[in-house]
Amino acid sequence: MNPSVDALRATFGTAIGRALESCGDTIVYVGRDALRDVMAWLRDTPEHTYDYLVDVTAVEYRDRERSLEVVYGLRSLARRADLRVKVELEPQGDLTVDSVVPLWRGADWLEREVYDMFGITFRGHPDLRRILMWETYAEGFPLRKDFPLRGRFSRAEQVRQALAAHPEAHYSMEELSIAEAYEELPADMKERLRRGERGTLPEPE
């Protein structure tokens, strides 16, 4: 068992859940509210220095009773030690955790991917939008277990939507604001801009 687990327990007490070992890797469960503090502590405490974020991902089990897990792989480059930190979330409940982007810039796209694939929201992420699927993707979150392998919409519906998409819809709101393309936008995108979605309205003439 990784000695960092005992040090975590001594520092954070009940915020640290169970710890176990699987195939030689140590896994420690952390309460959702303490996540950011625990991560900052693990990164900055001299005898631990997990300075490298290997991966951020999530796991949903086939067993519906089990909670959804957000998995962080941490590594100390100097000590060559690994630690896997997990946060458990109720699949039907509030799927929100704190973002670790303020600690590691590398978490930016990784968290966006978890959001895209699992629908988990990262509080404090600077730019949380879909990354692999397109911005207006409406079928849900593909890696959730209730998502069918072939997608929610029929192939005919998918083709219809792809053909009906406005060419400007391939740009994000932010980009269209830079290009000052407001006047050429379709009505629904104008409406989204007006609702204050990323990007700015042009100054009235």
Partner: protein, 421 residues
């Protein structure tokens, strides 16, 4: 502000008191274009983006203000598909992620599945997998070198690099029957042992390959255009590289001596004699130097692996994991039962989870497998090195010229099959 001067065409004759053309510093006469930022779209169908990457670039004149990458044009849902496949059925999917180094991906997945199941592979298989990994590193770096030199205007190294890659592809074809989609590993072993003349062919390659490397070195390393286009471009410090979770040559070019082969050894890499190549400045030029030198280190490892290649079986002797030979399955009742159970039910993994990171050409390829005791993983996660390396692109490119953006993007060494998965 540039120190160059230009001749101005004025409404007046444009001559000074002595009759010389008026010369003024560029900055003085430049019209104010601050407000006019331009948005340009590069890709997804653009040769310089190395696949279907789309970059939306905000430009101030020719200077990049910000880069907004758009991904997902090649998203195939491999991770989702993997949840519906047996462990051995996932291996063909790994070919198609980083399709420039398919053999190394096969090895990465097989190692993770074996860690999950607690399988120890045979000595011959271990060495052959090292050969597979290092061959992949060479072809991947050769593609990188060729395409990057084309991006920066040098055509000749491209031809040399692709010729070398072709020779490795011939060896891969000899071994697996496929050039690109090799699927060379199985859980617990390999899909086949190497054929008779493979070792001789690879020996010939390792003897002749250094000559091409030195030719490429001679034509690029001190080439004024190459140096001018790459030095000081896209710099990341060691701290930034770690903070961005970069791995592989991108991390080492910034001066961080981290190589999974040395620091968390797998496949007995600790017993091979090779150097970890580390850069100093973290710019495009250092990334080039690191990759070039890694090719000769891989060549060294290949030679050592060929020298020590032991005889013996490539597969473990466990009929629950390894398919019996077809002839036995047809003639022997017990073998037929094992064959049937493996094909119909698959290899069951115990409850648990395993993460294995291997040093792929692009960086650390992680395979994270979670099992609930059935023959299909609950979760198969690929830690995609080029996806994470690419996420530092907006940071590296801001403030550079548009043409430097091409050089920086090339230096990341992305392959979209893996970025989008």
């Amino acid at each position: 502000m540039s120190k160059r001067t230009v001749e101005l065409e004025l409404a007046t004759p444009g001559l000074d008191a002595r009759g010389e053309p008026l010369r003024v510093p560029l900055g003085v006469a430049e019209p104010n274009l601050d407000a006019e930022h331009m948005l340009i779209n590069i890709g997804p169908q653009h040769p310089a983006t190395h696949g279907v990457l789309r970059l939306v670039v905000e430009l101030d004149g020719e200077t990049v203000v910000q880069v907004i990458p758009h991904l997902g044009y090649l998203h195939s849902g491999f991770e989702k598909l993997g949840e519906y496949r047996h462990y051995n059925q996932i291996i063909p999917l790994t070919d198609r992620t980083d399709y420039l180094s398919p053999m190394a991906n096969n090895v990465g997945f097989a190692l993770a599945a074996e860690k999950l199941m607690g399988i120890t592979i045979t000595p011959r298989c271990t060495v052959l997998r090292v050969i597979a990994c290092e061959m992949s590193r060479i072809i991947s770096h050769m593609v990188w070198l060729g395409t990057t030199s084309i991006d920066l205007g040098a055509f000749t190294p491209f031809l040399w690099a692709f010729q070398e890659r072709e020779r490795i592809y011939n060896l891969q074809e000899m071994w697996t029957g496929a050039r690109l989609t090799t699927s060379v590993t199985r859980v617990g072993g390999l899909m086949a042992d190497v054929p008779d003349d493979f070792v001789a062919g690879l020996r010939h390659f390792t003897r002749t390959f250094p000559k091409t490397l030195s030719e490429i070195d001679r034509v690029l390393t001190r080439n004024a255009v190459w140096v001018g286009r790459t030095q000081g471009v896209g710099v990341l410090t060691a701290g930034e590289a770690i903070n961005h979770s970069l791995s592989g040559p991108m991390l080492r070019a910034s001066g961080v001596a981290y190589d999974v082969r040395k620091d968390k050894p797998y496949l007995d890499y600790e017993t091979y004699d090779f150097d970890v190549v580390v850069g100093e400045h973290g710019d495009v030029y250092d990334r080039y130097l690191v990759r070039l030198e890694e090719c000769s280190q891989s060549n060294r490892i290949l030679q050592q692996a060929l020298d020590r290649l032991p005889d013996g079986p490539v597969n473990i002797a466990d009929p629950r994991v390894i398919l019996p030979p077809k002839s036995r399955a047809m003639n022997d009742m017990e073998a037929m039962i094992y064959h049937f159970k493996q094909v119909m039910e698959g290899v069951k993994a115990p409850v648990g989870e395993a993460y294995v990171g291997i040093e792929n050409p692009k960086g650390e390829l992680g395979t994270y497998l979670v099992s609930d005791g059935t023959a299909k993983p609950v979760r198969w996660r690929i830690r995609p090195p080029s996806f994470i390396n690419l996420s530092a692109l907006p940071r590296m490119a801001a403030g550079h010229l548009l043409s430097d953006l091409i050089a920086i993007n090339a230096s990341v060494d992305i392959v979209m099959g893996e970025v989008d998965r």
